[in-house]
């Protein structure tokens, strides 16, 4: 990634820093917890932004409610999916340690709705394996489960039974011919097709948990198509997914540059997507390589 392009992108994101410390997802937008968390993850990797990160972390705490969940908005307390992102953003921050701890505790007890699938022909996955939902009282899906696994692993719970169950869920939801979509391998007997962003994310979450042969077909799906991706989420997560398995496409920096430069076609990218793309350019491995390390099996609450 070109240094000047990185700097100008960081400057663009900085312009979305609100007076209360949080970040908006669009220029001139309102506070968004996910945009704030992603901005914190990126600015933590850059020297000289400690105060900005600290203030953003404090603003993010105001999106946390008493049971530890971090919600999208106060009128949608069921939208719990920003919780794992917040854990990643607060990682290593001494001033947000209590919030971080409460969020970890929430995640360890939260789960999607699960029931016995008596007809495998209907949906092709094991509906009983517990994972995490986007929204409370709904089924578990790939993105919130993978993000929760990354958050708990980063918090020292890599071997926890919930993370291990998440591993089983993701392996079970892998499409037989490779990759992941939102979380259904087949419907009514027909195999579905994979998406880049969920495949890259799932590969991040499974790194170090399964043997490469178990996810080889998914790596191959990304390797076959990644050179054609020019949008932040598809390209960013694909590169992060490959990097998590020590595969570094030589042209990745150029693809990132091209994608950043194409942003004008869409009047710019949203903060969260931009940060995923920057993460792909900055990481030496998967997303985990950007985060402060914490001793495993620490019990912090």
């Amino acid at each position: 990634m070109r240094k000047r392009l990185l700097q100008s992108t960081l400057t663009d994101i900085m312009k979305r820093n609100l007076s209360d410390g949080g970040f908006s997802n669009q220029p001139h937008g309102m506070f968004r917890p996910d945009a704030t968390a992603w901005a914190m993850i990126i600015f933590k990797t850059q020297a000289g932004h400690e105060e900005l990160v600290e203030a953003a972390g404090k603003r993010l705490e105001r999106s946390q409610i008493i049971d530890g969940r971090v919600v999208l908005s106060q009128d949608h307390l069921d939208a719990v999916w920003p919780t794992p992102l917040s854990i990643l953003a607060w990682q290593g921050s001494s001033s947000s340690k209590d919030s971080w701890s409460k969020a970890v505790a929430f995640l360890l007890q939260a789960a999607g709705v699960h029931w016995e699938n008596t007809d495998q022909a209907l949906v092709g996955h094991d509906t009983l394996i517990p994972g995490w939902p986007w929204s409370e009282d709904t089924h578990s899906w790939v993105t919130p489960t993978a993000m929760s696994m990354l958050a708990l692993a980063s918090a020292g719970f890599r071997e926890h039974e919930r993370v291990q169950a998440g591993v089983r869920l993701l392996v079970d939801r892998q499409i037989p011919s490779g990759g992941w979509n939102y979380g259904n391998t087949s419907v009514l007997g027909k195999e579905l097709r994979p998406f880049p962003e969920t495949t890259g994310l799932a590969l991040n979450a499974l790194a170090g948990h399964v043997k490469q042969e178990q996810i080889q077909s998914s790596l191959e799906f990304l390797l076959e198509h990644v050179s054609t991706f020019r949008t932040p989420l598809s390209l960013g997560w694909s590169i992060l997914g490959l990097r998590a398995w020590h595969i570094v496409p030589d042209l990745a920096p150029e693809w990132i540059n091209e994608t950043l430069e194409r942003g004008h076609r869409f009047d710019g990218y949203d903060t969260a997507s931009l940060c995923v793309l920057l993460a792909a350019g900055l990481a030496t491995g998967g997303l985990e390589s950007l985060l402060p390390s914490v001793p495993q099996e620490s019990r912090l609450y």
């Binding site: 997802n25 937008g29 309102m30 968004r32 999208l72 908005s73 009128d75 949608h76 069921d78 939208a79 999916w81 709705v113 022909a121 939902p133 986007w134 929204s135 009282d137 709904t138 089924h139 899906w141 993105t143 979509n181 939102y182 419907v187 009514l188 007997g189 027909k190 579905l192 097709r193 998406f195 880049p196 962003e197 969920t198 991706f229 020019r230 949008t231 932040p232 989420l233 598809s234 076609r265 869409f266 009047d267 990218y269 949203d270 997507s273």
Partner: protein
């Protein structure tokens, strides 16, 4: 409407749909649900226009439809128009999944020619978070960029909650994307497709895509948990879209909405009333709208679905009708065939 009557209607409709979904074979003509809106006169006109290929003059067909349906310069001048195509997923050689970009372009041009102040396009794909990737791969992105038409990812929009006017689900409010505060007309622009859960996906089912994933998840989990048919009814009743333009030039049959086969139908279907448009589309597909639970439940409440109560303009259904293939292993396809 009084609270008492609302509750009565809710109970009746819910019970009716439950009975229907349980497989009750209610005779179409005997089904009667109370009307809560005016579904008569101009709102029940539907235009069917022959459009053999995407290479033809689709704009001219849409403009003819406007003329037939009384959509005039006086009505559109100065309005901000929101077009909601169906963008689900993109895969090589599967262009029939999504509303064709040239139909969207034709609609943009037709509304601008009537003096619309601005036309914007938006979608909140149900399966994918990366809406821009779908936008680009579907071919719609380059067209919008060329025409300087903004695209809005509805999944990422901060929303506003409104009281659920349908009350088929247990959701007391529905959260719509903030951009809807700022538009005058909302146009549903679906693809003509069969659907493995809902039977058919047309202008009403297409509205799932307006519900922001931020609040409803991917694949709009909250709505699926509440029931697909019930959610379709609630969204339609609450949002009250102004118009529908259906891309039926090439539709999808079999295992829709993504895994089915292309079906050349050569039609564009338009109208102000969504149940009337969708039931007309169903008939064109050789499907009995009374056997599609959400259409049956919408009948005479959100609009007419009885053929005799829809004033059809343009080309006749009979001359264009083709049976879409329905699959025996898909429960939602059973008993759909128009007799």
């Amino acid at each position: 409407m009084s609270q008492q009557s609302t509750n009565f209607l809710t109970w009746t409709r819910r019970q009716f749909l439950k009975l229907f979904l349980a497989g009750s074979s209610l005779a179409a003509s005997s089904v009667s649900v109370p009307m809560v809106g005016n579904a008569s006169d101009v709102r029940s006109q539907v235009f069917v226009g022959k459009a053999p290929t995407y290479d033809g003059n689709i704009r001219a067909i849409i403009e003819r439809g406007f003329q037939e349906l009384g959509v005039s310069k006086a009505e559109i001048h100065g309005k901000k128009i929101f077009l909601k195509p169906n963008l689900v997923e993109t895969h090589v050689e599967h262009a029939h999944i999504n509303t064709h970009p040239l139909v969207v372009r034709a609609a943009i041009e037709a509304f601008l020619s009537l003096g619309a102040r601005q036309v914007v396009v938006g979608e909140g794909p149900g399966h994918r978070r990366d809406a821009l990737h779908i936008l680009e791969e579907s071919g719609l992105g380059p067209i919008l960029y060329e025409d300087r038409i903004p695209f809005i990812d509805l999944n990422e929009q901060t929303g506003y909650a409104v009281k659920n006017q349908g009350e088929w689900t247990s959701l007391s409010t529905l959260t719509f994307p903030g951009v809807f505060h700022d538009v005058d007309w909302i146009i549903s622009m679906p693809k003509l497709k069969t659907h493995h859960w809902a039977g058919v996906t047309l202008s009403m089912k297409n509205l799932f895509g307006v519900m922001p994933g931020l609040y409803y998840g991917w694949p709009k989990n909250v709505l699926h948990h509440q029931g697909i048919h019930e959610s379709i009814l609630d969204i339609t009743a609450t949002l009250k879209p102004h118009f529908a333009i259906v891309d039926g030039i090439v539709g999808m049959e079999g295992d829709g909405p993504i895994m089915g086969s292309p079906k050349s139908m050569g039609v564009v279907v338009m109208g102000r009333n969504l149940p009337a448009v969708d039931s007309t589309c169903a008939r064109l597909m050789g499907i009995d709208p009374y056997q599609v639970p959400y259409l049956n439940a919408a009948a005479d409440w959100l609009g007419p679905i009885n053929e005799e109560r829809i004033y059809q303009r343009g080309d006749s259904i009979g001359s264009l009708q083709q049976n879409f293939s329905l699959l025996p292993h898909i429960p939602a396809h059973q008993r759909l065939r128009l007799s």
